[in-house]
Symmetry: D3
Subunit: 283 residues, 6 copies
Amino acid sequence: MTPVSLARIMVEPLVRAALLEDLGLAGDLTTDAIVPAGLTARAALVAREPGVVAGLDLAKLAFALIDPSIAMHAEINDGATVTTGGVIARVSGPARGILMAERTALNFLGHISGIASATASIVEAVRGTRAKITCTRKTTPGLRAVEKYAVRAGGGANHRFGLDDAILIKDNHVAIAGGIAQALRRARAAAGHLVKIEVEIDNLDQLKDALAEGADAVLLDNMSLDMLGAAVGIVNSRVVTEASGRVTPKSAPAVAATGVDLISVGWLTHSAAVLDIGLDLED
Amino acid sequence: MTPVSLARIMVEPLVRAALLEDLGLAGDLTTDAIVPAGLTARAALVAREPGVVAGLDLAKLAFALIDPSIAMHAEINDGATVTTGGVIARVSGPARGILMAERTALNFLGHISGIASATASIVEAVRGTRAKITCTRKTTPGLRAVEKYAVRAGGGANHRFGLDDAILIKDNHVAIAGGIAQALRRARAAAGHLVKIEVEIDNLDQLKDALAEGADAVLLDNMSLDMLGAAVGIVNSRVVTEASGRVTPKSAPAVAATGVDLISVGWLTHSAAVLDIGLDLED
Amino acid sequence: MTPVSLARIMVEPLVRAALLEDLGLAGDLTTDAIVPAGLTARAALVAREPGVVAGLDLAKLAFALIDPSIAMHAEINDGATVTTGGVIARVSGPARGILMAERTALNFLGHISGIASATASIVEAVRGTRAKITCTRKTTPGLRAVEKYAVRAGGGANHRFGLDDAILIKDNHVAIAGGIAQALRRARAAAGHLVKIEVEIDNLDQLKDALAEGADAVLLDNMSLDMLGAAVGIVNSRVVTEASGRVTPKSAPAVAATGVDLISVGWLTHSAAVLDIGLDLED
Amino acid sequence: MTPVSLARIMVEPLVRAALLEDLGLAGDLTTDAIVPAGLTARAALVAREPGVVAGLDLAKLAFALIDPSIAMHAEINDGATVTTGGVIARVSGPARGILMAERTALNFLGHISGIASATASIVEAVRGTRAKITCTRKTTPGLRAVEKYAVRAGGGANHRFGLDDAILIKDNHVAIAGGIAQALRRARAAAGHLVKIEVEIDNLDQLKDALAEGADAVLLDNMSLDMLGAAVGIVNSRVVTEASGRVTPKSAPAVAATGVDLISVGWLTHSAAVLDIGLDLED
Amino acid sequence: MTPVSLARIMVEPLVRAALLEDLGLAGDLTTDAIVPAGLTARAALVAREPGVVAGLDLAKLAFALIDPSIAMHAEINDGATVTTGGVIARVSGPARGILMAERTALNFLGHISGIASATASIVEAVRGTRAKITCTRKTTPGLRAVEKYAVRAGGGANHRFGLDDAILIKDNHVAIAGGIAQALRRARAAAGHLVKIEVEIDNLDQLKDALAEGADAVLLDNMSLDMLGAAVGIVNSRVVTEASGRVTPKSAPAVAATGVDLISVGWLTHSAAVLDIGLDLED
Amino acid sequence: MTPVSLARIMVEPLVRAALLEDLGLAGDLTTDAIVPAGLTARAALVAREPGVVAGLDLAKLAFALIDPSIAMHAEINDGATVTTGGVIARVSGPARGILMAERTALNFLGHISGIASATASIVEAVRGTRAKITCTRKTTPGLRAVEKYAVRAGGGANHRFGLDDAILIKDNHVAIAGGIAQALRRARAAAGHLVKIEVEIDNLDQLKDALAEGADAVLLDNMSLDMLGAAVGIVNSRVVTEASGRVTPKSAPAVAATGVDLISVGWLTHSAAVLDIGLDLED
């Protein structure tokens, strides 16, 4: 796991914007009408289904930004597993604030935990192999830092964070350059000394070009298991091998068994279902 | 369908932020290294699976914000169905800009189309009944306006946009108020003349209180089909009836058959998978 | 009164921007030159004329954002009446900070209190009738949430907060639709189940169409008192009736006597004079 | 008149924020429901009362930001007088966009024109005297640049724009410094070579101190007409004299007759009523 | 020295943006990998060369924004002189946060101290003369308020802060106006009563026009020492005289000896080298 | 040269903020007073000293954001050399806008060109060796993307853009980890597959540890020329070698002669003087 940080300074603008999105100009009409201003309450954040929880700091921040006097105490840490009915955190303070922030806190917590849980399930599926599970740049607009964090919390590794932190030569770049070799040469000439280069490979001929031109990693895209195995053999641990192409928890073990170093999975960040978490008032 | 608008002034900040999230401080290292500055290209946005497309304006904006000389021509309109391999739009202009904006354009288009497609599938499942499919406030933080639009594009209806545009009395509010009747009375006393009031109902006794106190709509939460049918009978069209509780395309027809007016479905916005769409360079 | 909230998260950006507007790049040249850095002071916010005070939280925030060690203690609550010379709040802390924030704090407090006071005067004028006083969307750009709050603090009710939270069919919409009936039918087809519909009515024929087509409320625009009374009679409590058109505290009683439910008054938010409040240093 | 500019780059953020304030997340429900997407319209901005118009660029920008294909043609320039029924500008383009932007455009235009009109009325009242009419820092939070512009458009002059562009020693500063002389000495020691210094004067003794210590201007606060005249005589044109204190168009001529150079009027920016302007669809 | 303020509300957005610029989406990869989460540390900010320190509040804020539990204690105040090896401040708290904020804190502190040191060196060079050293508008984009503060901390005076706080007629304005006299007349007609006017002068004829038309200050641009002396003689203390044109600590004494009031030095803000300051961990 | 891009979407917020910083609330008092609104002008951006020009797009944007009708035509491209008096670009359009944007355009152009020129001078000094010149993270707060671009324009290479795009183990990290080997092992365990690792080395023992643990690059900090040469010999091209420590154009050839791959130079971005560029009106 890459323990990359998620500093409060990075996520506070997201939580603030989400709260304002929900409050509009009129605020919480229902709570204002029904809940007395001075009332305090206690509540629990409870898992409605099993999974891996992540994003507790964002939920806590949602409550605190609405009312600094709301306290949230996490019962578990990010990355921990929870079962149905398990209490994730307890919240206490002014009842109005708790109810105003509830949905935003849960939307963040459910979304991040959903990605962490999906990651964990596929990480579990390949346990015992050398394969690490990694994400892609197919993230929800505006939430990339948070979703990359969720992948780490679920036991996965992070791929590139953006167009800016590594070179990844895709099929369209290869086509424009006129071939793997030409693309890699241009990339190497331009790359800074701390910039790695990966190249997408569709067949074994391309793989040989990539190795000859000194790629740091090869992305083996949508290959059959046989071709993946052959590619891993050719590479022979000289560079990092990454398999991609609609891998699921079910298909992952066979892909991992080919010996690839990484399996990248786009749906972790773009299509994982939320983890269902609710807020229950306590007496 | 509620044809609520999605003005460019509302979505441009989202698209701009998503592009900057991908570019970082260094920009697109790969494209800068490999693609000549003067090269132009033509490309097609192609569906990799069938579904309902939505969000074309956001994809177009992603390209235009990177380079105003990139033209995107949509082949279909938001809300249209596409089959695998179907061309959704064509893009032409500077190759660098097309590749720099590609992932952001596709992330928006896939996310919005995914929600529209999920909506359409469940709308289709209840065709012929009186039930409309509606979303919830369980949306992805920062993307609520866009996701609500996606639901409309898929043939669904919008529920509340936020805490501010209607009163929805949930179980926690009822508990605090000391009952359905008390909660509704407080709500009615506070509500502006253009604010409707809906109340969550867990059993038929509560339903009678709700009707007696003049709710505009009742949210029948997690009820059995039998109880739903009984509730619809009691209401007898006096107020709007909404069923909720993990409804899927499979379970939706039976829920709709109870005669409810609305079925609200949280996963449309929080857990729908993206629609897989790719960008193919054309000669 | 609609006790809709005004959360700190909603107003802090306004107060921050107003302070920066006043400070520019050079800060407070006068205070820096004259007031010693270590000096503390005590001061009172004092009404220079009678009225209803509102916006105390924004004044407090102005001082706190300049220097968190400035304490402001309100002597009365928002919505309370003050007489000339009445002390509204006391402030103590570093003298430089108090003087730097003074004008911004007073500009907010005077503006919001001015609207609250104007509202209270016209609410008082119709006391004993069924008529509530309500505001419009004719608000000062950027300050709508705050001004709507001021109306509530003065005892008024809020109309729509924006284009997004209810349907209000104005004369221009009617003209485009080709009549009241057509406009209402289109509105009803599009409206979500929690969206109410009001329609502007210029004569009694239109009123009958509006009732027939099921409007939730009718806006009786610029009608004579006689016509207002006739309209109220026709409506006979089936829908909400709203009178509008340059109503003043003087004319309000006669309008209210027609039996309308609401009187909307644009000048509350666009033309009310500020309440004159000053800051006096105390020994 | 000080013809200080109001560049588009300065006001676009204000107009954009005001539009988004009105649109919320759902946009214009009414227009979307009733007005066909392809319909074009023509409309006139018409004065409902006489006054001085200002802020046409902001109204134009409101329409353009909603839809760049909307054209607005001003029939008069900022600063021009309009009579009841006079056409201020004509707008043409997509009907939806015109109606969506209408209220924001009018809110800006009415507010700015209201201040210009109020300024013009008091400028007119002192015509023939040496007195210029000037504003204060008592402006509406967030709108200072725009309101200062409105004062110029109405024929007035601008006072300080903020705490940062001149030194204005108020009574509280004098009290802290221990007297006019001490305050002025500190100010002069700190002031940059392009920073002028004005001091508030409550009596003629203070005036002598101010002159002795070399103030650039004296603010004669809340003085009787007799004392004002005496002060002007003592000053004898050596420094700028400014009278302040609840001056109205009615009282202004007598104040001006004392021979003061400037009359500052806070209510121009904090309490002027809007100029009533409407939008009429044309065939 | 002009003790103009630098309120936290003014600089916090700068510090926040600089931290986010350094953290990107992934945060501090190195620190996260190597430094245990619970580890605390103590460190000293140490001068690597002699100079004048300024900007301590920004460094402190950088640490606090990353982690409020980091304490920074300044050993000296802004404006104090430090020698090589001198300890400027001590920092203690979570080691991760200290290392994450280190570069941003030092970048601010070094930049601001560099300007203060450069200012101090040229101020020292003219000690004993009447000449004050002042800055220009040739500042680093985005940092003007901070850089103007640095000049004051180094013992210099501030010139205009922007286009908005005084009139400075440059050669291009003179050319457009058709001469010094015409330009000054237009300026005087437009200037508010608290706005001073300075005019750039290239020869002694222009100087006479400037004096005749009542400029408040004259900018003697790129003149020889002889011409400067002659100009000062002609002015004879009637207005402020400012010399400009690539003045260095070496050439400054001779310029000052001509008797000018001010020497403006662009390179203080656009080309001063940073003061080298490092962070040393302490046991 | 690393041809990393500098998209308009990345720099427009900087240019916009810089213009607003200069305009304040009152705009350009001088230009408004003196320059007729309708006047057009032509001007040249002219080098006052020789150097390498960069940042033309930002200057062009400054003019365009003030007035889109101002045209700027670059006579040379970024990275080109200019001699004293050389025309860099020509500008034509409304005279007011040209003068309002002038200082902001020049501040950007001078700052970026200054860095490019400094880079070019040291690149030239090591021509013929294998050494590339690279920058550091010691950049001006808020301007990192722009300054990194300037280094490339001057012929240099970019080092890390932030804490997020590579691992660079500094002396403080080594101290906390307890040695080079421990630090590198933690880094390697945490690093993603596209993240390179560089480590700071103070002596040859540390160098051997770094090589043994598989660093991708070694930062040879403040070493004597002899030790640098010895280190290069030990490394023997297995990893990238980077020399750092106050290298100047004068000392650079000797450092390069040791055979290092990179020489990093902090002062390129934190202390380079601006390139002096002026705007001359043309007839």
